[in-house]
């Protein structure tokens, strides 16, 4: 009983912090990182480092303000400026519950780091105190309505959360394919690295989508096991919503910067149309000869390159 009282105080403080952050109208993404119960000093350190690295990348590379980043962690771990409190069930329920009151245009990126266990709807992340299960997260996220949500469970044994949490318009990623892959997971390290380092932005639009981060981390995890000559004990998975994941970013895109410049608006509209045509062409690739496909691709890519060049010049200014 005595142990619970300080936690209640913290909840109040944290809730206020989040409400305070909501006044920053410029932010479109809220990043909530939950690092669970470490159990051992080496994990406490590892979870803290990973959480901080993600927060740092979100700030430095995706341009999220500090106020849009919140990290809840094991009290045993080291803390940083993004640390908002302990990753206790009640705290998290309250924080995420409050999020439903925010403008629906704001998207939520919820990242779980730590040890996982359980099976099916009882799959859970180990937290200090009572844990949160897939069933709990389903209930919590269900209250967020049509808001765009990325639920990224980087814990071990996280695979069964996929079937419980997958929903239209929602990005769901798990570090393993089942509840039985319980060994320490490395996928999370590479997933964070995707945002923290160069290399994951494979479509070169200067931002890393959830799909790009997933593919990067998946490939690097496989490479790790191959290099070590080990059989992989984790097989990450992503919900079958690749189009959603392809367009889900930590940061808003360059198009947002076009507001107020008519020529830029036209150019962006034209490049967007060309993008669509290129996507459509790619789908027809298998039915075309290589030469015909390349000719058509070149016909679309050359004007796109010219318009992109003009956009860059306009954005750079005189």
């Amino acid at each position: 009983m005595r142990a619970r009282r300080p936690a209640l105080v913290l909840i109040l403080v944290l809730t206020l912090a989040l409400v305070g952050a909501s006044s920053n109208a410029g932010a479109q993404t809220r990043l909530v990182i939950v690092s669970g119960l470490a159990g051992a000093p080496k994990y406490a350190q590892a979870f803290s480092q990973l959480s901080n690295a993600l927060a740092q990348a979100a700030k430095d590379r995706a341009g999220l303000p500090d106020s849009a980043i919140a990290w809840y962690g094991d009290p045993a771990g080291t803390k940083s400026r993004w640390h908002r409190g302990p990753s206790q069930r009640d705290t998290l329920e309250a924080v995420l519950g409050r999020f439903g009151e925010r403008p629906v245009a704001e998207q939520l990126v919820l990242v779980l780091i730590g040890h996982g266990s359980g099976e099916g709807a009882d799959t859970k992340i180990s937290l200090p105190g009572p844990d949160l299960t897939a069933r709990d997260f389903s209930r919590i996220l269900g209250r967020l309505g049509s808001r765009r949500v990325a639920f990224l469970n980087l814990t071990s044994a996280s695979g069964d959360m996929m079937s419980v949490l997958a929903a239209p318009g929602r990005v769901v990623i798990t570090a393993t394919k089942s509840a039985f892959e319980r060994n320490e997971s490395h996928f999370g390290e590479y997933f964070v690295e995707a945002f923290a380092k160069d290399g994951a932005d494979t479509d070169k639009d200067n931002r890393v989508s959830m799909l790009e981060a997933f593919r990067y981390a998946d490939a690097e995890t496989k490479r790790l096991y191959d290099a070590d000559g080990r059989l992989a004990t984790e097989h990450p998975q992503i919900a079958d919503e690749s189009e959603v994941a392809r367009l889900f970013f930590l940061t808003p895109g360059a198009r947002a910067r076009a507001s107020g410049n008519a020529r830029l608006n036209v150019l962006y509209a034209e490049t967007f149309a060309l993008d669509e045509q290129i996507q459509a062409l790619r789908k027809k690739k298998d039915s075309m000869t290589a030469d015909a496909y390349d000719a058509e691709l070149e016909r679309l890519l050359v004007p796109l390159a010219l318009k992109s060049r003009e956009i860059r010049q306009l954005e750079k200014g005189p």
């Binding site: 994951a200 494979t202 990067y216 890519l301 390159a305």
Partner: protein, 780 residues
Amino acid sequence: MRSSRIAFCVFTVLVLATPGLSAQADSMTVRVNAAVRSYERGERAAANREFQTFIDIYNTRADRLTSSEFVAVAVAVTYLGVDDPQLFKDALKAYDRAIAADPDNLDARVRLGELFLLKFNAEEAKKTLTAALAKKSSYVPALIAEARRRDFDNEPGADSLLDRALELEPESVSGRVLKARFLADVEDFAGAAREADRALKAGPENAEALAFRAALARVAGDSLANADARRRYSALYPKEADVQLATAELLSRVRQYANAAEVAREGAQLDPTNWRVHAVRGANLLRMGDVAAAKRSLETAFKGDPYDIWAKNTLDLLDTFGEYDEITNERFTFMIEKAESQILSLYLKELLDRGYSTFQKRYAWTPPVPVRVEVYRSHADFSVRTVGLAGIGALGVSFGNTIAFDSPAAKDAGPFNWGSTAWHELAHTFTLGSSDHRVPRWLSEGLSVFEERRAHPGWGQSVSPSFLKAFEDKKLVPASRMNDGFIRPAFPQQVMLSYYQASLLCEMIARDFGEPALVQMLQAYRGGASTEQVVARVLKLDAAGFDRRFDAYLRERFGRAMAAVSDRDASVEQHMPADELVARANAKPDNYWLQLAVGRALIARKDYTKATEVLERARALFPEYGGAEGAYGGLVRARQASGDVKGAAATLQAMSALGEMPYEMHLTLADLWLQQGDTAKAADALENALFMNPFDIAQHERLAELFARSGDKRRAVRERMAVVALRPVDVAEAQYRLALAYRNAGDLRNAKRSVLRALEEAPHFERAQELLLALVEPKP
């Protein structure tokens, strides 16, 4: 191959002994023997009708049959099982009843063991034969069957068991035939013929003896003896194909795969129900690269005998061929698993094309094209491809115009140099082909290792202390019996040492008699000459002279090193001060091992200057030995630790030229050269590393940079292609850089193609967009 002696089992032990049996048992035994004779004469329908009656007897009178009668039923059902393989299970039941009825019926136990072996179930065969020998350890049929079983399982003791059986019953026909087979396995065809003749003297009508005698005569080129044995066999067994089966298997053993396939075809035509002959035909067609025809034969074999594990394994493997790409050019067809076909073919095309040109000129022979090159990502698959079973120790194989080897990704094969392996196997294609597949193994292997060493510094085997020790202990075979080192090894490491020994023999011939002598030897073998005749004709030496010459060559070449490694007294106390260590090394300056031990101890004490002095002395004593545990490894460590980058690089470079080095050491060498700004040598080191591990994208990127810096535009393109082939996460960047490399090399067409691939992946990729515009915009 081993399979033949299993296939013969049924036909060699069928005739039942009759003395002492009851009238009824005698009657059934006589009847089944008569049916067997009838079957062998080719009256199969009548024989099968008679065999069928034994099933009726079993079904109506099983509770009253004696042990011998059950055996007669089992024999009958075994014959019926040729057409209906499920009936073999009934034969097993009948044998079990026979043993239950009379546990002392050793004949039943041995027949059951033979049947298990016939159906490739060696485990049950072993149990059954062990039980028979426990009843009577001197029972000759059990000893012979167990010798067969051990040979099948590659277990030691097959020869000694057979010798014991022949001591007990010197004129045992099946024993003598098995002895002949064992001798043929080690290519002692004259000895095998003597054993087969002795068997025929004791059993002039024995099917297995006649068939094997015919096969031996065919391989020895003795057409008269071959015709005689065939005539005698076909008079007795007009519709049986055992002559063709034995001949095909023996031809296959001496690497005459095309002839083996043709003889097996004749056998299958004569007896379409001889399932083994179909399987042997399939195996040899596969060796020749005719996958479709091989599959048809193997499917026939497996349908007829679903117990044939070789056919099953090979068919399972063929089912995976859809996962492979086939890439064909003027000289080669590469069959490589899709996941790695792009990266491996990139290097194999270049490497083997160079090999083809080199060998074509050197051996004055052109193989039929395309040469088929199969690369297996799983060592188990490679093993099945080679011998039909998992567990082979080799990394590569050449069947002549088809070569196969492990992919560097085959983790179950361990680390190895896949470039030198491919080169080695391709050399076989030319030595086998130019000799019409008559080159003995020693010369083919010796030339392949010799060719490896000539192709690239560090490739191919090199001298080791264990080789010198074996030479000093007179454990190496003399030159005139070099083949024995491969096919009759006297100790476990002998085959590996023989590869190197044979390569030295080739080196000596090239040095003392000129390189054309090696080609003349191949041509002499092609003409059917024996090794003794070849040596006499080409080298003008008799066997003793050949032996003396090679012995002198080895002593001349390694005499000093041999003396240095012969004294193994290299004890060094753990806490001995550095000066005392040096004094001890100085006291015995010609002891290689002592210099090494002192050098290592000085490194442990961080006295790198003294360690280097002592280890340099060790190197001077045995400069040809580049093993990591030798002087070079210690010198590199000492020089690196003392900051002597230049010295460490030079030493490691010298070490790399003396034999295979682990992947990481090649990377270290590259780093050492880069630290000195020598990009050309760094690139060489990285290229060597690729033949240990071609899957590291970072090294290809480094190499591409180095080639670009040194102006080697062709290889810069190759390395950028390698990066793309390895499917990096950032495909767009990889394709863009490939496009730049193409453009630098003046290949604008491919540059545009690659930049389109980059932009297809990432349409807004700024640098790629600019490159595309530069490539399509008209030049002013």
